[in-house]
């Protein structure tokens, strides 16, 4: 068997500089991760995965002019990858149906009877919205979170989500309609 030689662990990899570069964006990154995953623990896992993915690419990061859209792109892709990986595990069998582009849980879960949320005056509370967001499929949730909450423009999202503008618009329209429907009928 061959003797294995290894390159020594890099002493020059700037761990501290990596932290200095990304620290100002960590709250933002976590905010996006939380909106996408809906849970603190999942958001932390997602951010950790993203940092691990970015760490070896420090030199590339330092040269990026607009880093936030780039970070969101990596976060979104990691989120989708993790979701797909999860769906391939036996645990995913516990879920009854996968959410696709055209369908979401709203149509199957939303009751047609007015719920308590309809009766309260201020129905668009953060809690209600976040609960409703958690019921959208991944694509709808992402475009709604990034456009309506985080303020990215649709042309920016074309690149971040690698999706044509027309698809984004219709996806956003359906996402908003679903959110309002969930909030109105109070299915959470």
């Amino acid at each position: 068997m061959d003797n294995i030689l290894t390159i020594p662990a890099s002493q020059t990899l700037p761990a501290r500089e990596f932290e200095t570069l990304l620290c100002p964006h960590l709250d933002f990154l976590y905010g996006v991760a939380f909106r996408l995953t809906g849970l603190q623990a999942d958001a932390e896992d997602l951010v950790q995965d993203v940092l691990l993915k970015l760490y070896p690419k420090y030199s590339e990061l330092a040269e990026i002019e607009k880093i936030r859209p780039w970070l969101v792109k990596v976060t979104y892709r990691t989120f989708i990858d993790n979701k797909r990986r999860y769906q391939r595990t036996p645990f995913s069998l516990l879920k009854s149906a996968s959410a696709s582009e055209e369908t979401n849980h709203v149509d199957t879960l939303a009751s047609q009877n007015p719920g308590p949320a309809q009766m309260v005056e201020n129905k668009f509370t953060s809690r209600n919205i976040q609960a409703a967001l958690n019921m959208l499929n991944e694509e709808q949730k992402a475009v709604c979170v990034l456009h309506d909450i985080e303020g990215f423009s649709l042309p920016e999202l074309e690149d971040i989500l690698a999706t044509p503008l027309g698809t984004l618009k219709s996806r956003l329209h359906r996402a908003r309609a679903s959110l309002k429907k969930i909030i109105k009928y109070g299915t959470f």
Binding site: M1, D2, N3, I4, L5, T6, I7, P8, A9, S10, T12, L13, A15, F18, E19, L22, C23, L26, D27, F28, Y30, G31, F34, R35, Q40, A43, E44, V47, Q48, L51, L52, L54, Y55, P56, Y58, S59, F124, T125, S126, I129, Q130, C144, H147, D148, I149, G151, L154, K169, L172, H173, R176, L179, K180
Partner: protein, 222 residues
């Protein structure tokens, strides 16, 4: 403009993507039609509620731990990669053979044309085999990396030296590299021990297209 068309344009209205003329038409209709006005106000409240959602923030502990973990897990991954590359030696990848001949004359810059083609911006493992005639303790290994290549984790490092023990026979070194410029390039490896050294240079090609047919080519000097 009727109610149906007005409602259809509301998304574009709030996204700011309506032209001024159409925007005026929508506003005029909303001001006159009580039903559309109510819908408009609800839509406005909904957008504002989304936009004003308080941001979730991580704990301070999480920030510290996350950065520390990123560095630690990366190092762990590097170590695992070295072991996995051992198992995959013959299975895949690009390989160059190098014989260290300390008993013979030093061969500075002797060129070996390794039939290896790298795709631009793609990370690849190049395996270099040092076939040592005897045990060499504390040998100094040196890599001279051309500007067209980056050694993963050593960006912009053009020369890297370290000490290692070589056993008699084949010694495998895996170089994770990323091609950053196209062209014909030369990678130089040097082994030094007890005031003797052996240098080999390998000619490689970096092609600009991303679809490169990879071939397993072995080159050995005896």
């Amino acid at each position: 403009m009727g109610c149906h068309k007005t409602i259809k344009h509301l998304d574009d209205y709030f996204d700011g993507s309506l032209g001024q003329d159409l925007l005026n038409v929508v506003q005029n209709h909303v001001n006159k039609c009580p039903e559309c006005h109510e819908l408009f106000q609800e839509e406005k409240a909904f957008r504002l509620a989304l936009f004003n959602m308080p941001a979730a923030t991580p704990s301070r502990e999480f920030s510290e731990i996350a950065f520390r973990n990123a560095a630690a897990l990366h190092q762990k991954k590097l170590r695992s990669r070295a072991w996995y590359s051992m198992a995959g030696t013959l299975a895949a990848g690009l390989m160059v053979w190098l014989t260290t001949m300390f008993s013979g004359p030093i061969m500075p810059g002797s060129g070996i044309t390794a039939d290896i083609t790298l795709a631009l911006n793609e990370t690849q493992n190049i395996k270099v085999l040092f076939d040592s005639p005897r045990v060499l303790q504390d040998a100094t290994l040196t890599l001279v990396i051309p500007k067209e290549l980056d050694l993963v984790d050593y960006p912009d490092t053009r020369e890297l030296s370290w000490t290692a023990d070589l056993k008699q026979g084949p010694n495998m070194l895996t170089l994770p590299v990323r091609a950053i410029e196209a062209g014909n390039i030369v990678l130089v490896t040097r082994v030094a021990h007890d005031n003797q050294s052996s240098t080999q240079s390998f000619h490689l090609a970096v092609r600009a297209d991303s679809l490169v047919e990879r071939r397993l080519d072995l080159l050995q000097t005896v």
